[in-house]
């Protein structure tokens, strides 16, 4: 078989394969649900109800989408420049750690300043975490996929050490858990009484900002050029190495913000289970969004809905909630194939 580029894809060509990818994902999930003894329609119904069935459920979905928007943006930015950042998990925890370091009483500042400081510091340390692998890539040609993956393990062990040592909450009854943030370091709720914090708004702002950077600025142009064809970019005089490093800083910074938002907006303290893999799920989010920053918001909501919905479905229907993870992984694989099929025709020959 042979792949033949399509000169001008029709609307159907561009819409049908992604739609089929989503469809195929649900077929896979339905089959697995049946194997586990569930009625697929009931299972999907319960997922939908769990995600959007009540005001509480909707807010829960929005809260769950928040870190995914940040990590999804982090990955979308990096992947667009062909910087394969699989280390958003470590960058997220780095942002969380610095928020706890600054926000548990070491500093005493008014709330707006405190939050700005914590947020900026989270971006900075997240960026620094990715800078190492980016430098190894640009200087020595070390594949960043493996280094960022390995750094996830290293950094999680480091967090574990911090939570049992320097950052351990003296009042924590021996649990590996940090002290609680002081009120000035907490992101307030958007509407009093509703469990939705300003981190969600911040995530939306970040998505718009990345979109503007991509389409309107020279940096966005450079990042896209380097990602599409680094050789041509270098020939034209675009400083490829510097662009990759800038991309790494932006990407790591966005993932760092996820950690800040989770600790400051939702949890109030740091534990080892702060992220159930938001860094990895961000890859799925970014790919489902076709790496488009505004698409990331939609994809993050979709993914969060499946997670939140699957949790409550699992309790009601007895089908393991890992069904959600399977759906996302298959959606990722089907979607990359679908994107290919929007641009290429498969020919026998």
């Amino acid at each position: 078989m042979r792949l033949e580029p399509i000169a001008a894809p029709s609307v159907g060509r561009r819409v049908l394969p992604p739609a089929l990818a989503i469809g195929a994902t649900f077929v896979v999930a339905a089959l697995l649900a049946m194997i586990a003894g569930g009625n697929p329609f009931a299972v999907f119904g319960l997922i939908l109800k769990g995600a959007f069935g009540s005001k509480f459920a909707i807010l829960e979905t929005l809260n769950s989408a928040t870190p995914l928007i940040f990590t999804g943006l982090a990955i979308a930015v990096a992947f667009r420049a062909k910087l394969w950042n699989i280390g958003a998990e470590a960058q997220l925890y780095a942002g969380a750690v610095i928020t706890v370091v600054l926000g548990t009483g070491a500093l005493s500042l008014p709330a707006p300043l405190m939050l700005a400081l914590c947020g900026l510091a989270a971006m900075l340390v997240g960026a620094l975490i990715l800078l190492g692998p980016a430098l190894l890539k640009t200087r020595l040609g070390v594949d960043e996929v493996v280094t960022t993956l390995l750094l996830n393990f290293i950094f999680l062990l480091f967090v574990s050490y911090l939570l049992e040592g320097p950052l351990k909450d003296p009042m924590g009854m021996g649990w590996p858990k940090s002290a609680r943030l002081i009120p000035e370091a907490r992101l307030p709720r958007i509407v009093e009484g509703l469990r939705l914090h300003w981190g969600f708004a911040l995530a939306l702002i970040a998505a718009v900002a990345v979109w503007v950077i991509n389409t309107r600025t020279t940096l966005g142009y450079e990042m896209r050029a380097v990602g599409q064809n680094a050789e041509a970019a270098a020939f034209a005089g675009i400083p490829v190495t510097r662009v990759i490093l800038k991309t790494a800083l932006l990407s790591g910074g966005l993932a760092g913000l996820a950690g800040f938002s989770e600790v400051s907006g939702l949890k109030g303290s740091l534990t080892l289970d702060l992220s159930p893999g938001f860094g990895y799920t961000g890859i799925v989010v970014a790919m489902l969004a076709l790496l488009h920053p505004l698409g990331v918001v939609v994809a993050a909501l979709f993914v969060a809905a499946i997670f939140v919905g699957a949790d409550s479905m699992s309790r009601a229907a007895g089908v393991p909630s890992y069904l959600a993870d399977i759906m996302l992984a298959s959606a990722l694989l089907f979607m990359v194939l679908a994107i290919l099929l929007t641009k290429f025709r498969v020919r026998r020959d």
């Binding site: 033949e4 580029p5 000169a7 001008a8 309107r216 600025t217 020279t218 940096l219 966005g220 142009y221 896209r224 050029a225 599409q228 064809n229 050789e231 041509a232 970019a233 270098a234 020939f235 034209a236 005089g237 675009i238 020959d349």
Partner: protein, 514 residues
Amino acid sequence: MTDTEKAQVVLRLDGITKRFGPVTANEDVSFALNRGEVIALLGENGAGKTTLMNILFGQYTADEGSVELFSQPLPAGNPRAALDAGVGMVHQHFTLAGNLTVWENIVLGVDALSAASLRPANAKARIRQLSERFHLKVDPDAKVGRLTVGERQRVEILKALYRNAKILILDEPTAVLTPQEADALFATLREAIASGLSVIFISHKLHEVMAISDRVLVLRHGRLVAERATQDTNGEELAALMVGAEVSAPSIAPASPGAPLLSMRDVTTPGAGSAPGLARVSLDLRAGQITGLAGVSGNGQAALSDLISGLISPSSGTLELHGASPQGWSPRSAIANGVARIPEDRHKTGTIADFDLTENAILETYATRFSKRGWLDWVGARAFAQKLIEGYDIRCPGPDIRIRLLSGGNMQKLILGRVLEGAPDIILANQPVRGLDIGAVNYVHEQLAKARDRGAAVLLISEDLDEIMRLSDVIHVISEGRLSPEFARGTMRPEDLGRWMAGEGFEKGMTDAA
């Protein structure tokens, strides 16, 4: 050999037609190849030569028509069938694995994949025997990556002979050889032909076609437009048949050279991979003059081009532009110093395939002309792209078209427009017409001549000696990173340049210059 044996048909193509969507690559092509015969397949790029060979090799299936090998029908779409029947092909881009040895490359695919052992001793002995008989000297244990281009071609031919090929297809085999190496290749071929081999020789170099073939078939736009016995035709007729009209190349008036705008003194650069760097090269590019650089590919052209493009810096020696050494040599400072760069590979280095025309048009100038404090001026950029489309006759639906969808000629016009728009006074043109149709070739050559006439210094790098001799006011030859003295237009015959290309006059030339 008796006449009946000689007339024995070994390969017959009958009514081959192949379409790719709306494009017809081959239309009703029929011919027969006799035993011990050399057929030249002549045609421009895109005339359908490669498609035809790919059909023979089962890479494509013909829509209509059939192929017969040694009086047996050839099953369509099976790459093994032609090989097993005794057809060997030397591709234009060698199909060798650099990290493997010569013998490993040669035996690849000979034994069934289920066979238990490669039997290296047998294989090497046989290779030595063949290389002796056909004067194809090469060490079976050498890594292919370390061989010269000429040696790699020998490996490719050995590969075919090792398989007892009875028909050998050579696709543009001399593109990478010096005239002298090409002569050696022809000698080898004649020996092989004498022992019964039949050859299809694909080329667009007329003098070679005249020298080696018995019969010439001319392909144009996928159709077989003419067949001539070589002895009954001549170069002029073949050229006319190939392009379908009398060739009207732009006439180049004599130049009035001025001061050197770019000067190198004793410049040495590191090599890249198997290609050499520059070795103590001194070169002046003068205003109002086209300097041609002749040479076999892979002899330091890439290093010279990278140097002038700003991608690399001299490791020793000096580079001066407009009489001053540039600070911090890079692509950006090259552009800032008025160097226009037309890269060798317009797909890989010249353009970004999935960017639209506007985005490609501003690739070199986005930061200086279309940016305000980090914000891009898309309105200005689009207007600039529109200007290039009109000024350089780029045929396209508009500035939003993805560059991938343009033809090679239009892509090259965009690059020309992009680099010539600021009226640069130094122009590097590295293989500027490779793979273009004759109309686009003439357009590019006219633009280069025009730039020269307004006082620009032009460096034309090409592997096509005809192009170099036609356009250049002065010629240098490059071989293994060394540069020959400057030869004025009309003072050298192709054979003379060929000897320099083979590295011959250099020691003498060096002492003469000293």
